[in-house]
Point group: C2
Chain length 402, copies 2
């Protein structure tokens, strides 16, 4: 048997869907999962239950794996270096992954590359935040932002006081670890955990975009169409592929930006670059994720090769698959938990109403607000495609009754 | 957790791909596999290793399953009735499945329905075969064939002597259990095993077609486009969807025939109706299979809903998914084992040559002539789509070197 074993750290839905994508390639999949009930652990045969923060557990897990990759960014960088020193390929590697683990490191690096970012600074206390806010002169900051040294930032535009966005530099996701503070009093909260905090201007964006690319150790890279990501309450609600009305030149520019970041940071596998599009037509980098990403779930049914399949191909250094779309429009809508725990019964209506609907559930217990699945729809008529996705997601959640 | 558990009997590639298709639906999958190394056992978390011919094993396996379905037709009918008596839904049920298990039962039933079949008869010895051959008067037999009672069949056309096709009524697949005999001496071989044998005229067909349908307990049914199946040495080599040059009326007729068989036999799940198309434009039923089928593998990448996803939906009595094609042409080519055991290395060339290629490997050890995977290609230009599929299958097998 010459087929390799991919070791996946983390048992969430990204691991589950990566396993699904690896089955047709005949890849062996080995999972390190927190519990035997985790989303991916339900569907993978070779599961090690253990703590990804424990180096001995990681080392035991890595034995027999040909490569290690990730469902999340929470493995300590030092552990990843230790695995590499043991001779296990870690993809993406710790040098790249640190930029997705630590927002301070990420901002400093993107500044160094001259990549447009929101104005930002590492802050130590509410007084620091107030100073940062006072220095703002409005708008979305100049291209490249200002580096952590602070000082005389003088971007054009009106006053830039509060609100300010505060983020813990590590560990946040889906709006967790992010605060929008409107006063120096409100700015106290993020510091209570005693972890480093990054202050960012609250960008007056018109919409959020995402540029998804995949890169292999050989340096081959593919770029998916740039998508629009519609957020509700800080959580991704809907993704539209491609982003409606995005000029081809702007789209190509965002793809090239993501490819450049992937190359300069040495990313292996899938890289999601979350972007703000501003009213004056600029694009600023919001976040980086180095793994399959919610903004790429549409590719499962809407692209020739899904982000999951290409992530597997990349970490194994196989030639990458065609990232082009298979439909004019594809829409992904996240299914959040509602008050009604039985989503399976809702399948009857959803499937009967829309025989083209693609449901992707994660095997998670329903809790209000928890991402438990998503749906994909595709077609030629964007309004119809959006309506079908929104209806199914709403019906599964229980917010739509008919 | 309200999601059902689907019990799959048999650990082959059909089970593997059905599991893959069930993951997005959040379905729990439980497998009864001959060994822990079987194709599906490699990728399923909940595996019972045991013998599907043993009723106690089946009963132990069925505990905790909401429905039982199959990767193959080899479970004894009596055992299936026992499971049903225990209150476990068995889909397809034994009354339907018997027609896919026993070619004698199948022929008698199709005759009764007036479905066009090759001329046929159950035979006891070589003398019986010779008599059957002598009665033949050529052509492909009249619509409905002749029932097992034999006698004065007088189909139009020329002489119908040898060759005659002999088949064991149970247990054959992929050309195994099938003989084409050219003399009464050759006719002795199939009887050596002591199992019942069915004689059939050797139909002078121009090509083989397959009509694939899926039916649910509610009676909802969907029909996939009729495909052409190209056989080499009695084994399916290539499937072209839709069958090139098949008149729409003929295609609709074949679909309706398959839907009628599914309904009258009470099939639940996927039904493949293998057909002969004759020079004079008639269509005769060759074989029935009540499970996902090689002639439907193209649907994984070429249809809105794959045969595997629809099989899962059917056995769970969920509304069925859209069976329509996503591309003008989709071609499936089987990957057979060759002399070189390392197919993984061949991925490099295949993936680099064709970034749109869809590979589906089964995790099986390579043995010469063994089906170890398949590839799908799709596009607008049939010649190009066929060439790409044939190249990849040949390169993986080792019969094409560049």
């Amino acid at each position: 048997m010459t087929f390799p074993v991919v070791g996946m750290v983390g048992g969430g839905q990204l691991a589950r869907m990566t396993h699904e994508a690896g089955i047709p390639l005949g890849i062996r999949f080995k999972l390190l999962s927190d519990t035997p009930q985790d989303s991916a652990a339900q569907v993978v045969s070779d599961v090690v239950v253990g703590d990804h923060r424990d180096l001995d557990t990681l080392r035991r897990f890595a034995r027999g794996c040909d490569v290690i990759t990730f469902d999340h960014e929470h493995v300590p960088t030092g552990h990843l270096r230790a695995l590499e020193a043991d001779g296990i390929p870690v993809r993406p590697g710790p040098d790249a992954l640190e930029h997705a683990q630590d927002k301070g490191v990420m901002r400093a690096r993107l500044d160094g590359m001259g990549v447009p970012c929101p104005r930002h600074r590492l802050v130590r206390d509410p007084a620091d935040v107030a100073a940062f806010a006072a220095e703002g002169t409005g708008g979305t900051g100049s291209a490249g932002g200002t580096a952590g040294s602070g000082g005389a930032d003088s971007a054009p535009g009106g006053a830039f006081p509060f609100p300010v966005v505060l983020k813990t530099v590590r560990g946040g996701y889906d709006g967790k670890g992010v605060w929008i503070v409107r006063s120096v009093e409100e700015a106290a909260l993020p510091f209570r955990a005693g972890v480093p905090v990054l202050a960012e201007e609250k960008v007056d964006f018109t919409r959020e975009l995402a540029a998804n690319v995949v890169r292999s150790p050989h340096g081959q890279a593919v770029a998916y169409p740039v998508v629009e990501s519609v957020q509700v309450d800080g959580v991704c609600d809907t993704v539209i592929a491609p982003a409606p009305g995005l000029a081809p030149a702007r789209s190509a520019e965002a793809q090239q930006l993501a490819l450049r970041i992937a190359e300069e940071l040495g990313v292996i596998g899938h890289l999601a670059v979350e972007l703000f599009e501003t009213a004056d037509g600029r694009v600023l980098v919001n976040e980086l994720a180095m793994r399959p990403h919610n903004s790429g779930h549409w590719t499962q049914d809407g692209a020739v090769t899904s982000q999951f399949a290409n992530h597997v191909r990349a970490v194994l250094d196989l030639p990458l698959g065609d990232p082009r779309p298979r439909a004019r429009w594809t829409v992904m809508a996240n299914v959040l938990g509602g008050d009604y725990p039985d989503m399976y019964t809702a399948y009857l209506h959803c499937m009967a109403r829309d025989p083209q609907l693609k449901i992707h559930m994660y095997g998670k217990d329903v809790k209000p607000g928890r991402k438990v699945g998503h749906v994909n729809t595709y077609g030629d008529d964007l309004a119809d495609v959006r309506e079908r996705a929104a209806h199914a997601a709403g019906y599964l959640r229980g917010t739509i009754q008919e």
